[in-house]
């Protein structure tokens, strides 16, 4: 096991740059998730780490050893692929032992390691089958098994759960986390699913257009997003964005939201910089309550979705608060900038078109610069 250091790694195909100065220090045994929308460069970075792609610049160190120009097989890493990449002509046992065989390990040791890994992953009864006779979940386990038997310095996982159905995905997510805790091997996991990132990671690296947006643990990522993109990407449903013009007085910065004067949670020092300018305010759906609170407003829901334990209430935004940039949303969120979603737990009966009072605490507001999209704190 070893830590991994990525220094100024760049990648471009001709004039197209897919990865800009990528710097990251991964501690020994850490579980790091690269997350971002399609085309953000996360898979490219993983392939560079694996040695399957050449970096245009920068260095990669695994356990203080410079592996930038080493062949994939010499880096002592194991990789799990999105489509599992199990060899169809080999049995499960021989698939799992393939990497060891290629390294010239003797038969007995291969068998011992394969059966040990198979027991850990509960596939020991499938060892004589071929991949086509396995279910999706079983194939996934075998692919993990193939990585485990190698006992590598690090695991690289490229969207390993995206071919599974929703229920199995949740299950395997927990299994991979448990496996990581048990083995303690440094793991880099690539996904476009922020829920996978939040649930599994020790640290998340959010990427967009080849650039790192923020590196933080899941709770920090959720509570203190650095910019509008991170704020919109993390959380489901995504954060609501409202546009407001700042007026400043001696008590602080204020904007008008739902026709009410709301004091923004920004330090006094930051107030002069934003006075008289528009800002984007972020409010998470779960921070909106169903009763009177510090800031209450009466609305008629445009749409009510019930998930049983909770309800999503869609509310029209007042015209003055509309117009937050569309690219602030996460990649998979196609909402227009004219609605706000409230996520209410145990809200009782709420009907579309019937008046309801909602409230929020201004301290929960995230404030972003409307031009730079950076958080103002």
């Amino acid at each position: 096991m070893a830590g991994i250091r990525i220094e100024n790694v760049r990648k471009s195909y001709g004039a197209v740059t897919v990865l800009r100065d990528f710097n990251l220090d991964i501690a020994d045994g850490e579980f790091v998730v690269f997350v971002g929308p399609s085309g953000c460069g996360k898979s490219t970075m993983l392939k560079i780490l694996a040695g399957l792609e050449e970096a245009s610049g920068g260095r990669v160190l695994i356990g203080e050893r410079d592996v930038t120009d080493l062949a994939p097989g010499d880096r002592d890493i194991a990789m799990v692929f999105q489509n599992y990449a199990l060899y169809p002509h080999l049995t499960v046992a021989r698939n799992m032992g393939f990497g060891l065989k290629m390294r010239g390990m003797d038969r007995g040791e291969i068998d011992r390691r394969v059966s040990e890994a198979a027991k850990i992953l509960a596939v020991d009864h499938l060892l004589d089958r071929r991949p086509k006779e396995l279910s999706g979940g079983q194939r996934q386990r075998v692919a993990l098994g193939r990585a485990i038997v190698r006992e590598p310095q690090a695991f690289l996982m490229d969207e390993p759960l995206s071919n599974l159905d929703a229920k199995l995905r949740v299950h395997m997510r927990a299994e991979i986390s448990a496996l990581h805790k048990r083995l303690g091997v440094t793991t880099i996991y690539v996904t476009h699913d922020q829920i996978e990132a939040m649930t599994m990671a020790d640290r998340i690296v959010i990427m967009r257009d080849g650039e790192i947006q923020q590196i933080a643990d899941p709770d920090t990522m959720f509570a203190r997003p650095e910019n509008l993109f991170v704020a919109g990407f993390i959380g489901s449903p995504g954060m609501n964005f409202l546009l407001g013009n700042v007026t400043a007085d001696e008590r602080g910065a204020r904007v008008s939201l739902f026709g009410q004067d709301v004091c923004l949670p920004v330090p006094l020092a930051a107030v002069p910089g934003i006075a008289g300018r528009p800002v984007i305010l972020g409010l998470r759906p779960e921070h909106i309550g169903p009763a009177h609170g510090p800031v209450s407003f009466a609305v008629r829901p445009r749409l009510v979705e019930s998930l049983g334990s909770e309800k999503y209430i869609y509310v029209d935004l007042p015209h003055e608060n509309r117009g937050a940039p569309a690219d602030a949303k996460g990649a998979d969120d196609e909402r227009r900038g004219d609605a706000l979603i409230a996520r209410l737990v145990d809200a009782g009966a709420v009907a579309t078109g019937e008046p309801i009072t909602l409230s929020f605490d201004p301290a929960r507001l995230h404030v972003f610069d409307a031009e730079t999209h950076r958080a103002i704190r």
């Binding site: 399957l52 692929f81 060899y87 169809p88 002509h89 393939f98 290629m102 193939r146």
Partner: protein
């Protein structure tokens, strides 16, 4: 009649049952397979007429002592004489041996050349499309034209090959390619390989392109070198395609007639007489159609056995 008024009615007003005017509603789920049989029928009838029927005729002929076969003549008495004569004739065993040699050499060389060229043009390089075209070109050339080209190349007095051999100093005098048994066999084999390898190449290329890139990536991460990737991934994943392709090439070598007949006519000294040439010679050279049918039937049995042996379990679906 009530049916006459139906076209005038709006569609929605028609009774659902009325559409079965012809008594055969093939759109009904329970009858959908009828349509399949109906569409297959012409092809099945045609095959029965031009393949199955002649096959039975020739099977029947092989058990009769027939010179020129005529359908309007009464059937001759049943006899095993053709087969007895066949299995005791040196000519037959010679033809078997020539066919076998050709089968092994041509199939083997087509396999190696076809796979090698497929691997070559599967890589990304400038001019790949042109290279693919050239690899596939011999397949598109009609057999007789290919044979004429090769007959010229190997011509003993003004052929390219003799010129090349003499220029390179490999021989001091011209080789008479078509009068020496070994040389004639070599010429036939080379022509067949040239004509046959593109088929393997095309099939292998299609197979290669269906191998997921991640198989190779996974193997690279597992530390497999290029040769290990070739033997452990490329070859096994191509096997279903290659197995069937080899069978097809084998059957082609078995039955190919025009290349050998135009190049050497089976000579010299029957050195290039395969079973199919022998069948032709006996039937239309010596007009011993009963005997020729026996040769044909034995060839058919050999073909079936060889195919079964090769297809076997290899062609099983892998994914």
């Amino acid at each position: 009649m009530s049916t006459q008024s139906i076209p005038a009615q709006p569609l929605a007003a028609r009774a659902p049952g009325r559409r079965r005017r012809f008594g055969l509603d093939l759109a009904r789920p329970s009858r959908r397979h009828w349509l399949g049989y109906l569409l297959l029928a012409p092809a099945v009838l045609l095959i029965a007429l031009i393949i199955v029927y002649p096959l039975f005729i020739s099977l029947d002929l092989s058990f009769q002592n027939v010179g020129i076969a005529r359908l309007d003549q009464p059937r001759r008495p049943f006899t095993l004489a053709n087969y007895e004569r066949l299995f005791t004739s040196a000519e037959f065993w010679m033809a078997c041996w020539v066919t076998f040699k050709l089968l092994v050499i041509v199939t083997g060389a087509c396999f190696v050349l076809g796979l090698a060229t497929a691997l070559l043009v599967n890589n990304r390089f400038r001019g790949r499309s042109i290279a693919r075209l050239f690899v596939a070109l011999p397949w598109a050339v009609p057999e007789v034209i290919a044979v004429i080209i090769f007959a010229w190349i190997f011509d003993s007095s003004f052929g390219l090959m003799n010129w090349l051999f003499i220029t390179l100093g490999l021989t001091s005098q011209t080789i008479n390619w078509f009068s020496d048994p070994d040389a004639a066999f070599a010429v036939v084999a080379i022509t067949m390989i040239w004509k046959g390898y593109p088929f393997v190449s095309i099939m292998a290329l299609a197979g290669l392109q269906s191998i997921p890139e991640d198989f190779y990536n996974a193997a690279k991460v597992d530390g497999a070198n290029a040769w290990q990737r070739f033997t452990n991934i490329t070859i096994p994943t191509l096997m279903p395609v290659l197995g069937v392709t080899i069978v097809l090439v084998m059957l082609w070598v078995f039955r190919d007639f025009s290349i050998i007949y135009v190049l050497t006519g089976g000579g010299p000294l029957k050195a290039t007489q395969t079973l199919s040439i022998m069948t032709y010679e006996q039937a239309f050279g010596f007009f011993k159609m009963g005997y020729a049918s026996a040769v044909g039937i034995v060839t058919l049995v050999l073909c079936v056995l060889a195919s079964l042996l090769m297809v076997g379990r290899r062609a099983e679906a892998m994914y």
